[in-house]
Symmetry: D2
Subunit: 365 residues, 4 copies
């Protein structure tokens, strides 16, 4: 199994990069919710390729067609399904991809796992393109969460070694989070933008690629969501975050930094602000004992540079069983982090909605 | 739900720190395996408290009694259950713990989540003590994996700001990994030991606590284990790793470091060594596209300093609804990382065995 | 949750009777299998409406489009998705169906469950039409099972009070089972056919409907499949059999009849026929202790008469909150059992394939 | 997997007939509920052996020890675990049971499934004894359901060919249902009791055994519980009912009888009784479209005669690979239905509580 996720919600994704269509089935959505389709389209556009010089020139309209679970402009409570037709699937020659295993891509592990029968065209089912349906589902989840007073947003915490500021160092408001979705390069410190553009331009010019990190915030979540041990908020979120291609690291709150703190520093002390319970610091990222404490959930995600580069690479020919050289032709993203950000927001929204629906704290509208 | 984990294996844990017993039910173990009980006892002793000056003086024999699923010294294939009686549960006064929410502990989130009915004595079900049954299950999983040629081991990658060397910088052998289980402070660079002991001693003297990181290696795992997306090896491992109390960060391979690499650097290039396919580097930590590539699985885990410290802390009184001060009396670990290491190995073993049993690559013995 | 089923396989169904499309996502199919599409079409035609005077005249081509998981004419091992467009969705006035709760239909329970937001047109997601994708998946499962030497077939055990013979009373061969799929009225005793046609014709003429039973056989299944307790073969099969609309009863082997036997009669005694272990009788329907014993799996399914009848009925108006009368206009099946038979075979095939893939007895091809 | 069941609740059972202990872990119970232990003990006594001349003389106190999840006399919301020590495990010679496969028992299927490593003493994990922990869990579930206004009860619908009346033919009240738990032979028509006792006595005298049926009623369940398709109320109930050893048939409402009705007869017509929606008949057993309609859930269960009989039987010797004869010595139940009734009530209660907790209709107390 690999394509079904969730507990109260069940999302099933399907599709290949160069197949007929990709899509998603969402089981367990509450009935009666109107979907803001314009907002969904906007979210999908954030992830879609071909938006600017920073991304691959592959053009995909990423137009989801809802074929079930939606009636009279509202969710029915039955499975909501969206299908996205693939359009720009250049009919090029993929025969080399069948035998030359691209480093950093799923070609070789996929070849072994699927006994050579996987669709290798454009990475097939391993393609980042399969995250488009997740953004669709996430956009709906975000709308439902907004009605519960919960806002999710993320920014570029770093590109290569250029570090943006952190949510920990500023006051995070719903509007700040929502505003990021308008930006191609969502940075807290906007002064960094020219520098970031330049470093991406350089990497692209060399046919190379860059990685980076994203910082995600879940604002407005009540205390008491989650569980100790196997369904801790960290466990549930990490499961779905690490299912996003190219993610290699995840830290909640101070994360690796907390390992260098003293206990007296790491413990977020409680106080009453009127009737509201808050903590003075948020080194635990809003989660203690696997359960939310009412502070914002904060986490950072490390994303590797895209494996597709134009530079010549060493690899193997799995049919000839020899060492070989490889130059990957075609359309490449010099960096995937900006396009990964809406995906990370989406899967976070799906996971938080699932946890909320599983608790007593989901308020019927 | 919070206490059941797994797919082909299902582990169900139970118990509270000061209840009658803790334990685990393991469903799905292959039949016919003899368990090396001496080895199990040794693994459990690694985690048990009261072993040295570095840990809490609470004494627990942690003697698991197997009550099902084991017959004629072999697993039957039915649920194997182990029960560990709690013995050293000092009958002290816990009334303050009921109302004063200890910072960094699950007291407050647990109070909200369980509507005030959770067992608050010694953190109840949130206690790290509940990981003892996981070490029991992990010891068995490790034995089964060894028969498959897979060895799991971990070392102290850092204590506070003292950094040990990394598995990436040395040749990792099964014997190296196994050897760590003999050591109180498993370090690659043993010269660091006096320094580490000193910094722990100092923190303890001040009534404060330290965090650190652990690095885990899964050696001998074949290529082709895992799945794209929701059941990627990273997803499955992260789910169970983040269920270990105090874990706040996780990175595979180069992790956050890979976000600063160029694609040309991050891509682990393949080559044939005889008939064997290897990669020259292992920045992806043995996992690409969610599936193993045959290289060792490598990951690092950030562990926060124990929240229980003797220093006076600010907090709230949840019954009086006022701010309050708190001094946590009792037995404390100045650092939990050394005791967390066998737990991390254990849950890694459980997850890897589950993934392996779910693939075609599990070899019947 | 309601639309996802399975363990090693995960099937997710979606769609409404009068929505844009219905379909299925099948996760976990083994890679490398060629699908006989002609055979799939034939199976789907068995269930499709408008085939004869015995069924509703609604015409649906039920043409599945595979949009993922299939490459170079073989399964890839990734999710295989099929979409079936709804075509003959007469744009009639459904406003009465919104308020008059049809007896025996899901209108009222669905109204409460989905808070009035369910798609009520043609029963929406409750429609028997949603079983078409199950037949698609079942056809593939049957093909995979045939390669393992396992054949599944079913016949009309009864229509109203007309009783056909039983599989228990004859020798069941793969060809006998396969042959049923050619028949509109699959009866063991073909002499009953005119009588059955006549009773159906009469009910139809009166605007009334008939029920019946089906008997299913799984031939060639090896001993050792299944589990005691919660995943017994009976449990797994019953779960999916009772998800087929209109099923109200299920009995394995002698079923309710076994409750009137003596133990000395009910016990199926073993003997060696050469090296093969068999039982002299098969009152337990091939399953003992939840596990197959190597004899054919046999079970009978009770199916109620279609609730849609032309006769005037008493009911309630849920908007006006009054008692009311109702005449259901439109296209009705006078009996659903013949069209349910391919659905029962399909879900049986899905369940048996799931159980087999979860055991060690699935033979790689 | 075989020993874990549930969705919002997860129950994990363990143990063997002649092992050290049997037990259950219940994850997902709501916090704050006081358990009436006397009532639990009474329920367990209904199932326990050695109560009368009608059952096996094996004596088991079946004293559950709660070791987790219960604090200050209330559920904590963490896993509640109960352990029952086996006491009367006669240390007799089981060597014949290892090789002579008892007809009608799980010996042979279990031998294949577990590769000869299963605990064969007294049927091991296949023993009906493993249902004792289910009765424990069911007793708690029944108490929680009573607080929600839901009562569950069952009676002996038949013994061999002696038929009791049906719930369909009388007015069912909570007190009627509760009253059955006081009776050794819970019959609606008490005049049948001498006849039933006599037929059981006769079978016992001959060393033979009898089957029968039970009829179960869930009273007070609101409309709107359950789902279409895979998690229909019938699917969820059947899954757990067929996990009870010896169950071979299940029918909801009129069940197999409904297959002989006309649609005009089978359709339960709605009417308003004041503000309450009811149906005039209940042929669908309170479930339509997989969802409750507010009428009592009614179903009947067929239970086979105990396979353990004193009469000489034909079978095989699996070690010698020859045909053989067998006389099963020891303590036998001449009929299991009366002891199965509390088990059926228990698993029904567990399933209904699970469905209710998963809906919005569970009322916090």
């Amino acid at each position: 199994m690999s394509d079904v996720w969730g507990n109260k919600l069940k999302v099933s994704i399907f599709g290949e990069s160069h197949g007929a269509a990709i899509g998603i089935v969402i089981d367990g959505l509450p009935p009666g919710h109107e979907i803001d389709m314009e907002n969904v389209a906007k979210e999908m556009k954030r992830r879609a390729p071909g938006q600017s010089a920073l991304t691959t020139p592959r053009k995909e309209k990423d137009q989801p067609e809802i074929v079930s679970g939606y009636f009279n402009d509202r969710t029915t409570g039955s499975s909501l399904t969206a299908i996205i037709r693939n359009s720009d699937t250049r009919s090029k020659d993929y025969s080399l991809m069948k035998k030359l295993m691209r480093p950093g891509q799923a070609d070789y592990p996929g070849y072994v796992r699927y006994e050579g029968f996987n669709d290798y065209r454009g990475s097939g089912h391993f393609s980042g393109r399969i995250t488009a349906p997740l953004v669709f589902a996430g956009a709906i989840a975000k709308q439902l969460l907004e009605k519960q007073g919960i806002t999710i947003g993320a920014h570029l915490k770093s590109v290569a070694n250029i570090q943006d500021e952190s949510f920990s160092d500023c006051e995070v408001t719903p509007d700040l989070l929502r505003g990021f979705s308008e930006k191609e390069l969502p940075l807290l410190n906007e002064a960094l933008e020219p520098q970031v553009r330049e470093i991406i331009r350089e990497a692209k010019a060399k046919g190379d690629s860059l990685g980076g990190t994203a910082e995600v915030c879940v604002l407005g979540i009540p205390a008491g969501i989650g569980n100790p041990f196997f369904d801790s908020v960290e466990s549930v979120l990490s499961h779905i975050i690490f299912s996003v291609p190219a993610v290699k690291g995840l830290e909640f709150g101070a994360g690796f930094g907390i390992s260098e703190m003293l206990g007296s520093e790491a413990n977020d002390s409680y106080y009453y602000e009127g009737d509201t319970i808050k903590t003075r610091t948020n080194h635990n990222g809003g989660i203690v004992g696997g359960i939310t404490d009412g502070m914002p959930i904060l986490f950072k995600v490390a994303i590797k540079p895209p494996a597709s580069i134009s530079i010549k690479q060493q690899t193997i020919d799995i049919e000839e069983k020899t060492n070989a050289e490889l130059v990957v032709e075609g359309r490449h993203d010099p960096i995937i982090v900006p396009r990964a950000i809406p995906v990370l927001e989406a899967v976070t929204a799906i996971a938080i909605l699932d946890l909320l629906l599983d608790s007593k704290l989901y308020k019927n509208q």
